[in-house]
Each structure stands twice: as C-alpha cells, then as structure tokens.
Symmetry: C2
C-alpha cells in the first residue's frame, strides 16, 4: 500500500498547534520559552505519543518523536514551533506538522522504515535570544559563553527565561547529537518571499541560504534652522543618507549578483524636527548574498559610497559591522534527490536561494540537510496575513513524504 | 551731545534678562507664560521704570516702555523675551536689550524725541501656541476662535497657561493698537543663519521674510522580509523617499530661486526594523521662498516628483498641506533709511531675506516695519551654542540708535 498524505488530518494538526498563542489580531505569539511555546510542546509531544512514537526532549526543549528503530541513525525532519510576536500560522509550524503527517501516512500504509524517522520541533528558532538555539544545541554549536550572556531585546536573559519554564539552562550544552547519529535533515518551510507565487511554481528547492552582513551607519552633519541656512551651506545628514540609498541599485548591478539584496530598514534622525536640518542619521544596512566574496565586495562598495557621499555633503561617517553570518550551501545530493522525486511526482520545482535563516543551515554542520519551500501569498510572513494555499501545501507534503520514504528505506 | 551706545551697560542688561530661565545646559528656557517668562517681564518692566519710562502691559502680556510724549504716534522698537526650550542667550532678548540701550543713550545725551520711542518686549513669539501671540495682539490679528482653541504640544491650552500666570485671556482681544498710533517698527535680531558670518558682513538688512509651506507626505509600500524579497519585487517606501529627497536640488534649480529652501527634517518609517523592507514612510517637507508664486511652483514640482517616484516604486502616496504662510515684504522706505544710515556710519550691510519668522512680519500689517540682522556664530540658533560677537552687536546697536534718532526726530 502506497502512503498518501491526509490533508484533512494535516490541517487539523496545524490548527491544533495554532490553538496555542492565538492573538486577537489573527496572529500568533509563541516566542521562545513563553507560556504558549512551553504549552504547545507538551501538546505536540502528547500527539506524537498517541501515534506510538518514542518522544524525547533535549536540554534546549526541542521535542523529538522517533518512528522506527531506537539504535540506527535517523532521518530527521521538522522545523520549529516558536513564532515571532504576532507571527503567522505557517512559519515553522507547517514544517513540523508536515513531518508528523508524513510519518502518520507511512504508519497507515504499514511501512516500517529501515532507518528511523525522527520528527523534530526545534526550540527558539526565531532568535528571541539572538541565535537559533534549538538547532544549534542539536548541532553542538552553543558555547558556554553565549549561553551565559544571551538576553532578549527587553534584557531578559535566556537562562532566566528557561528557568521560568522549569528548564535547566546548563542542559543545553549536553544536547549535541553525535556525528553520524543523524543521516540527513529535511525541512519544509514557507518561502516567506514572493518568487514562487509570482512564477506559479508550487515548490522551491533551496541550494543554500544567503549570508547576512548587518551594518549600522552613522552620518553626522550639523542640525540647523531650515529657513536661515542656505542649501549650499548645509551639512544635512538625511540628504547624505538619501544619496547613499539611491546608489544601492547601481552598487548591486556593479558588485552584486541576481540574488544580492541590500536593505535600509531602520532610520533614526536627530533632532527629527520638521523645521530643523537633520544633524544626525543612524541607519541599518543589511547586505545579503549567497557568496561570501560577493557580500564582502558589496560591503566594500557600500563603504566607498558612504565615503564619497559624506565628503560631498560635509558629513562625518562611521560604519559598524554588527554581525557577519556567512552563506550556507545545502547538501547537493539531498537537493538532487528532492528534484528527482519532484520530477517523478510531476511537480514543478525550481532551485532557489533562501533569503531567510532556517534550522537547516545550522543542521548542515551536523549532517546533510536540505529544504522544501512552498509559496507564501503576496510574499508575506511574520504577520497575521501569512498564508499558503492548501493545494500547494499538499504538493510540498507529498514531496516530503516521497523523500522520507526513499531516505528511510535504507 | 551725540548719543553713543554703552556696550558695558547693554551687556549687563542682556545678562540681567538671561538671569531668568537659565539651564544647566548653558541654554535658557523662558517659553511663553512659563514662570521664567512671567518673571523676566516683571524685572524688565522695573528696569524701564527705573529709567523713567512709562511702562504698560497689554492683554497678551507684551511689555512697553514709552520715552517721550504720551499722545503722539510712536516709533516702536524691540523684539521678544520668550525663548524656545533650551534656547540661546540672544534670540529675541538681544533685540529688546538693544532697543532699551538706545533709549538710555538718547536720554544720557539729553535728547527728547519729537515722536516718542516705545520699547516693546513682545510675548510668546516662539510659537508655543502656534502663533506669534504678542505681535499678533498688537496688530489686531488674534481671533476669538483661535484664542479659544490654541494649545501647546502637550495639550495645555493658551487660556489655561495665561490664567496660571494670573492673566485674563480675553484681554488679548482688546490689545490691538489703533492704525496710525505706531509710525514704524524696528527689530534687531540675530540672523540665525550662516550667511553674514561666512561673508564677514556685520549687518544684514532683510527685504522680507520667506513664506513657508509645511507638507506631510506619506508613502505606502509593502513591509516585507529583507532577505526573501528580491530587489525588483519590492515596494520599498524608504527607497521612494530617498529618490524624492535626492531630486530636491534639481527641483530648486528648475523651479526655485537663489533663496529657495526645501528641507526634509522629520522621517518616520514603519515598521522601522533592520530586517524588514519599510512599508510606510511619513515625512515632513518644508518649502520656503520669498515669492509666493515660486513657493507654489516648487510645491507643484514636488508633488509631480512624488507621483513619478511613487509610480516607479509601486507606492501609494498622499500629500497633506499642514499650513501655508505667505512671504512678507518689509517696508522699502524703512529699509532704505537703514541702508543710508549704515552707509553714513561706514558699516558694511547687505540686503537679505529672513528665513525665520519674526514679529516684524506681523507688525507690517499695522505699520511700516523693518529689521536689522547681526551675525550668528556658525549659523547656530535655538541652542545653548547660539552666539554673536560683541563687536558685531555694537555695529547693529549703533545702526539702530541712528535709525531711531532719525525716525523720532520728526
């Protein structure tokens, strides 16, 4: 008997997850180690136990459900159950639900895999504490120093948040899986961008995830009266910022790539008063690309643009590199397997690069990993309006099932 | 005996005024109807009484000191005693002190003018309540409706602020001077801009004051993930704003004049998060020129730029005109008289346009009015660093004295 995903059951499972942290906005708040995040894990663990899976938790509070032999290396599949504040119904939760539905479908079909399938619901992927705690703990990447100092934007420490949930923070460091104990990791996730929807393609198969340079730039001019200061005697920090911002498309065409992205998302002017020429502009610059040398090239070209424009406008400037996350390439063989299976199923799939960060990036340091993307309506994510068409989800889940069948067959 | 300004006495008078509202920043806070503003007027009135002047107050709490005949039309001279919060030592106070010093010098020289000189320290020029209350009351421009509804940025009503100072708000409406009762108004003020300092000219003689169009613009795009949204699928409200901002120099060169000024001083992005493409940008645009048709031309050209850029970036836009203040021309004969006197005194003076608002603009509706500007160090005003060199003040005060001598001679 050939296993088939049961869409009604999958939908019901996703609804069960999203009974936790539901907001009046239509969105969800299950930020890492919140009450809703703690509660959804208890509920999900109980669901998997009812399915007869062997359920465990690690020190970071990631929840696992094992289907198959206890001693063989596993095929791991899943995603995260935490959300951003006022996030959507699909980011993370869909990947967890699809993984469990695939195991349920195999169980229904009487399939006992040669290699066990391990469902995972990772903890704290959204970075409340500045990392991807769950997958970093599994991959053995959490350091004592980071664990001791991680805090959220409100100053709540990771350790206090874990203790408030009845967890022992030190157990995070003992949660690393042994190399070889996981054969592969697969994660289905919403694209969180508009590409698949615009193209009418149901499935994206990421070849990798972009790296991220996070810069903070400060331009310093002179705050002066907007009426008494002639245009040619100004040192207008916002005029400088604007000229830097409009140079971005040319920067990308000269030093970037088709998938390079530069975003100015946050701007703070001072004094920020209508009748005063801005004396200070502090702004964020996020540079992304799939190749580290392209990222560094864009960063250098951006710095040259800042210097040129600041000189022209009589501004002082300072660029601080807040963080640099290198790009990650997913496993080629796993991606090829997914392409093959999509082809066999008659599903249109396209290679792409993930612009967002995912657990699968972290898992690549432990085992071959790959992802399946499904379309996001209007490209919207991290918002109540986040949505994916259920026909597209069915295609993605069917591909996940086929891949798990093949990988676990031994 | 020829009257001469006594710079020691002038300096001491300015220091006396600035004993009120002094802050630890080195700045001053005498916002309209504050305790410091009420107290400085009592002190200044007592000074003028000690000089033998006839001291009165009107319903808006402007203070007057009359030197000369009680029944003849007066030559009025002065400025305001209120400051912005954390303002400087010279804005307003210097013009009041210079006017009184000129009368003191005339008195010392035994000069009894044919037309009385009336020193004025106007109230609430800095617009805490959105107008220039003191000079508007004198000129009969305050309406019942405005008086009943004026409130400051914290929601304190003008009426409550006046009552707290023991004043009767309704008396404001009875403070209008009769047409013909004031022959001329002269105001010495700091330039509040960098032009005189850069040119090394001690005296500016404004031909008028620029008008002000105050616009609020909203650009609406789509807030989306900075990593997953390709550059060519964005509706980035900040990218649109930046492109509008860099078009300003060309707008001015095509539709403006040498003294046209366009300033974007306040910018608010939403969600204003580094990793999110700005979905909304709300910003202020202040357009100034000395000619109303130029202002309207710039406003129209700015609107066309917003439309063109919004179309290109897929943004919706809305422009709200918050206020329109037409430009004012000062009295030509009075300005010519000031140029003549400056020439006789061997003082370099240049015509200019005031970019800031002043009581003299309002007074133009009652009587011929003109101004004398003295340089502002680095063009700075409305800040503790505000400063004017005392040698320059001496030149300005000497010119004011000469002009008052001539106008009051009959």
């Amino acid at each position: 008997m050939k296993p088939v995903v049961n869409m009604e059951r999958l939908r019901s499972l996703l609804n069960g997850i999203n009974a936790f942290g539901r907001l009046e906005t239509g969105g969800f708040n299950r930020i890492g180690f919140s009450d809703a995040d703690m509660a959804v894990r208890d509920w999900f663990a109980a669901e998997m136990r009812a399915d007869g899976l062997t359920v465990t938790r690690d020190g970071a509070n990631s929840v696992f459900g094992r289907y198959g032999a206890a001693d063989a290396p596993s095929i791991m599949a899943g995603s995260h159950l935490d959300t951003v504040a006022n996030g959507g119904a699909f980011d993370g939760a869909l990947g967890v639900a699809v993984a469990l539905e695939c195991v349920r479908a195999m169980k229904d079909a009487g399939i006992r895999p040669a290699f066990p399938i391990e469902i995972v619901a990772t903890s704290e992927e959204e970075g409340r504490f500045g990392g991807m705690l769950g997958s970093q703990a599994i991959a053995g990447l959490v350091t004592r120093d980071w664990l001791d100092h991680a805090a959220d934007a409100d100053g709540v420490t990771l350790k206090d948040a874990m203790r408030a949930g009845g967890l022992d923070p030190d157990a995070v460091l003992a949660s690393a899986r042994k190399p070889g104990s996981v054969k592969a990791f697969l994660e289905l996730h919403i694209e969180q961008g508009p590409v698949l929807e615009r193209e009418g393609t149901a499935i994206g198969l990421p070849e990798g995830a972009t790296g991220i340079v996070n810069l903070q730039v400060r331009l310093r001019g002179t705050a002066n009266h907007s009426g008494t200061t002639p245009m040619d005697m100004r040192a207008d920090a916002f005029a400088g910022l604007a000229e830097i911002a409009v140079a971005i498309p040319q920067l990308i065409s000269e030093s970037g790539s088709d998938i390079a992205r530069i975003t100015i998302g946050k701007v703070e002017l001072a004094p920020n008063h209508p009748h005063t020429i801005p004396g200070d502009a502090v702004f964020s610059v996020i540079i992304r690309d799939a190749a580290e040398e392209v990222m560094r090239g864009l960063q250098a070209a951006f710095g040259e643009t800042c210097a040129r424009v600041s000189g022209k406008h009589g501004l002082a400037f300072a660029i601080e590199e807040k963080s640099f996350i290198p790009p990650v390439a997913f496993d080629r063989e796993l991606a090829a397997l997914l392409h093959e299976e999509a082809g066999s199923l008659g599903l249109a799939a396209r290679p792409m690069i993930s612009g967002a960060g995912h657990d699968a990036q972290t898992m690549m340091t432990l085992c071959p990993s790959a992802m399946i993307f499904v379309p996001s309506r209007h490209g919207i994510s991290h918002a109540p309006e986040e949505h994916t068409d259920w026909h597209d989800i069915e295609k993605g889940a069917t591909l996940m099932l086929a891949a798990l069948m093949r990988l676990s067959a031994g």
